[in-house]
Amino acid sequence: MSAPYVKFVSQKINKIRWRPSPNPSLEQSTVFATGSWDDEPGQLRVSVWELEPQSEAPPTGDVAEELKLLCDVQHPGDVTALQYLNNDIILTGSSNGTVTVYKHHHRSQTLSAMSSYQHLHGGAAKHHNSCTGVACRELEVATVGEDRTINVLHLEQKTPVRTFDKADSCTINSVAFLKQNELATTNSFGQLKIWDLRQVGSRPARMLLLTGERVPLHCLDKHPTQPHVIATGGQNGMLGVWDLRQEKYPATLLSAHSGDLWEVKFHPTRPDHLFTCSEDGSTWHWDSSAVKEALQAGDVNPWLCIDAAMQKVDISSVIPSNVMPANSLDVAGSTLLCGTDGETIHVMRNLPIK
């Protein structure tokens, strides 16, 4: 595995996301967006970058590839959530509660705000009005925030379609769409809640929670092919794998990093591979492809039974030299991106993903 390419970008990266490529198994995406946080007023921005495609011959140790800034735009407040809707629409959530829709104009290489939902979270409150997560599925968008509210938006309408007002008992940290009409959220009390959009009222359809200490769950990701499997990352660095068909506790809880686990991601086309990044600076690649053969488990998802075959899980540190907190990661094909508080973007190519 070659050394990661590091670029110092003079902004602390809070979120980093690949632009979806129209044909993921054939074409590796080369463009990605980042959002920054915690900076002087007027310096916070959303930027779009392009990675030069790697040449055929492997680089001789010297940094040959280049990262180029395509365009950027000022953003009101910290970028606390970022998602690509399609090839040129980016959705962001801000620490002042606003959700903005940006369009990336390819010809002029500019980003402009197309529409925004002002103060969606928290209203006029001074604090606790940050939007903390955004999930999208076609034109439908779900947002969650520190005001414990879930908003469901439709991009063609100016006001939210559905609001679960103060539906959770404490700050909601992340959200994802599950099956049709279902949302999953995690909050700061170690709870994973499932919401049914068709139901009236502000109560969750189901609630699952952590065993042991009720630490905040910072992030969640849904298994790409089996939507009843969910991975979460906790504030104590623990990785949780949940089976939604089961009871109320996680199927597996693994002690992983020594700091908050900020982001967890399944590989989109090879879901036997999982990636996590943490406040202690480390980014790990979890490979569970050997678990199935070891357990002869047949059709069971390997993530649900890694407890039994922990030594078969191959965990490797992707970016060993990083010391500053790694806030966000995204993976597409065999390339991993990581954004850190050390004002760097790390690009790791040629990950061993079979």
Binding site: D38, E40, E146, R148, F189, E279
Partner: protein
């Protein structure tokens, strides 16, 4: 800057310093007004911030990159004697720092080319960093990269070649014009001889000979003889197996021959060739004539030494500097950079540090002092206050970083390596960081916990919890309260929950209270709250006996605070009214006991609630007692 519209009655401007690059201006009275009745119109506070070099986006890269190098350097151990391996490592760290300075200079130059308005600023900044690199590289030669035998000139020649490219520029122009006019003679060009002289002064004889070869009269005898002299000049290189005395002998022989040739008139037909030869002989007047090409005294110093005393020892260098300075106008013409370079040559680390901290960015002096400290050079120079000096410089640098919104994380790492005052400063800074979002608060708390500042971590959690409480987010407040592990705060929040329950008749955030787990043991109020919820759950799931037991326990162990006793007893009413016996006689006695206590308090003047309720409860309890007697008696 004038303060517009002087406020009435106020006659002077006062100032309060903020962090780093901020200050607060306001109008006030001097001497301060002691009379309480004087009305003062509202005063305006003006915050002033000035640009700091380190906060510019391009230079911010430098801050972050050097942070990585700094942290990696601190974890290394170096022996004081600096044996081979250690020295190489130190030099590699120094080179890493210089590499990022170069990257910064390149970025600045690129930025200067792309914008118009700020181009001047960028160019000025790139010059500043060039000066920093000049000084750093010289310091590296003198303090870190020690040459065996102390013969320092080869390294100095490399230094000069690296930083002064006059000769190459002249050559470039020359070659361009030669390419353009095919038939012309190169020697006609203005740059021809200056470029030859430049290369000779820098000791780059191969290039000089190549340029000479372009001359149309190259084949003539005079040229050939000069070429031969240039070719045969002995060059000292440490690993070449030469003994120093051997080299000196050879070199003297060579120079004597040069002088003989010049005196013998070999080059008398060609003025420029004679000049080159005179340089080789080390003639004083010729060097003085070359001052424009050398541009400054240090270049002149090295060039002169090359041709007068190439085996000069490092400590003897300082003896030769004055003569060169005088050629360039004497001591009065020396600028700050010149003074610093002079201090390096004189091995006066103290002076280097003092001058650098006055004239150059703090970044430079903080990092180089730290590097020298690790190399043992500060102790070697017998600076009595060496470790303290290093620490003060680092603390100043931290101040610069803390004045920027986002560089606090980098600054904290630096404070970790300040053994005496670092921790104090860390506490003060971390306490004052603005916390707009929960995410930032979590990061700061984690930093505190890692550094064993547990009180501060708990206090930050409390602040976040109170903030949530004031905005009506009781559940979030509870989650912060559990994080802070502070019993008093937990008691406070539990009471608020109970107030909430009393108002709404139902618990909010039941999902949290139901699942507190071990956390409920943080304070007795919180435990009560959790248990009370459990009672409600038991009741709803119709486990009446268990519910009754729990209720009684809550009252008898006095876990329940007195003010909720009445509502607890009222909760017992439906259980008492049930057909089957839920409360045993002992439990009923306990409940009656509590009722009596409540009545005593009422009688003593502390108003509880209406008497009717008390009577109702007494009735229900006595009836239950009767039931219990009958049932328990008959079981016997």
């Amino acid at each position: 800057m004038a303060m517009s519209q002087a406020e009435e009655g106020l006659n002077c401007v006062s100032v309060e310093w903020g962090f780093g690059n901020k200050m607060l201006l306001y109008s006030s009275i001097r001497p301060p007004n002691c009379q309480p009745n004087t009305k003062v119109k509202e005063t305006i506070l003006r915050e002033i911030k000035w640009d700091v070099l380190m906060h510019q986006p391009i230079i911010r890269r430098l801050v972050n990159e050097s942070h990585d190098i700094f942290v990696s350097l601190q974890t290394q151990q170096f022996s004081v004697k600096q044996t081979g391996g250690d020295e190489r490592r130190l030099v590699s760290y120094s080179r890493n720092y210089r590499a990022i300075i170069h990257a910064c200079i390149l970025e600045l130059q690129r930025a200067a080319e792309s914008t118009l308005e700020e181009a001047d600023d960028y160019i000025m900044q790139s010059h500043l960093f060039r000066e920093i690199d000049l000084i750093w590289s010289l310091a590296e030669i003198f303090f870190l990269d020690k040459t065996p035998g102390g013969v320092i000139l080869p390294k100095l020649l490399e230094w000069v070649c690296w930083h002064f490219h006059g000769g190459e520029q002249l050559l470039q122009e020359l070659l361009h014009s030669v390419q353009r006019d095919e038939g012309s003679k190169p020697e006609r060009h203005n740059n021809y001889w200056p470029s030859v002289f430049s290369f000779v002064l820098q000791g780059r004889l191969v290039e000089a000979r190549k340029i000479l070869a372009l001359h149309s009269k190259y084949q003539s005898e005079a040229f050939q003889r000069l070429d031969e002299l240039l070719h045969r000049m002995p060059v000292y290189s440490p690993g070449s197996g030469y003994m120093l005395q051997e080299f000196e002998l050879k070199w003297r022989t060579w120079q004597d021959e040069c002088c003989r040739r010049v005196d013998g008139g070999d080059f008398s037909l060609h003025q420029e060739l004679e000049t080159v030869a005179k340089i080789l002989c080390g003639e004083e007047e010729t060097f003085e004539a070359m001052q424009d090409l050398c541009q400054n005294w240090y270049h002149m110093l090295i060039s002169k030494l090359l041709y007068t005393n190439p085996a000069v020892k490092e400590f003897d260098l300082q003896l030769c500097t004055q003569a060169c300075i005088d050629i360039y106008g004497g001591n009065t013409r020396l600028g700050p950079v010149d003074h610093i370079l002079l201090s390096v040559i004189e091995y006066n680390i103290n002076q280097v540090i003092t001058e650098s901290s006055t004239h150059l960015p703090l970044w430079f002096v903080a990092h180089i002092t730290d590097l020298l400290h690790h190399a043992g050079q500060l102790e070697f120079a017998r600076l009595q206050y060496a470790p303290v000096l290093r620490e003060f410089l680092l603390l100043d640098y931290v101040g610069v970083m803390m004045s920027h919104q986002s560089l606090w994380q980098v600054a904290v790492d630096y404070l970790d390596y300040c053994p005496v005052y670092g921790r104090n400063h860390l506490e003060i800074y971390l306490e004052r960081l603005p916390l707009e979002t929960e995410r930032k608060a979590l990061k700061v708390i984690r930093m505190c916990e890692q550094r064993d500042l547990l009180d501060l971590a708990s206090s930050i959690s409390k602040v976040m919890g109170m903030r949530a409480f004031h905005e009506g987010h009781l559940g979030t407040a509870l989650s912060w309260c559990l994080r802070s592990k502070n019993a008093a705060f937990a008691t406070f929040i539990s009471e608020k929950f109970l107030v909430d329950y009393a108002e709404h008749g139902d618990f909010s955030h039941m999902d949290m209270l139901d699942n507190l787990g071990q956390a409920m043991l943080l304070s007795s109020q919180l435990t009560f709250l959790g248990k009370y919820r459990e009672f409600h759950r038991l009741y709803e799931s119709s486990s009446f006996t268990a519910a009754a037991l729990l209720l009684t326990t809550l009252l008898t162990t006095r876990l329940a605070p007195r003010k909720v006793w009445l509502s607890l007893l009222t909760d017992a009413l439906p259980l008492l009214e049930r057909e089957e016996l839920v409360f045993s006689s002992e439990q009923t006695y306990e409940l009656l006991n509590c009722l009596e206590e409540l009545r005593m308090m009422e009688w003593m003047g502390k108003k509880i609630v209406d008497k009717e309720k008390l009577e109702l409860l007494r009735l229900a309890l006595t009836r239950n007692l009767g039931k219990a007697f009958i049932q328990e008696g008959s079981l016997n």
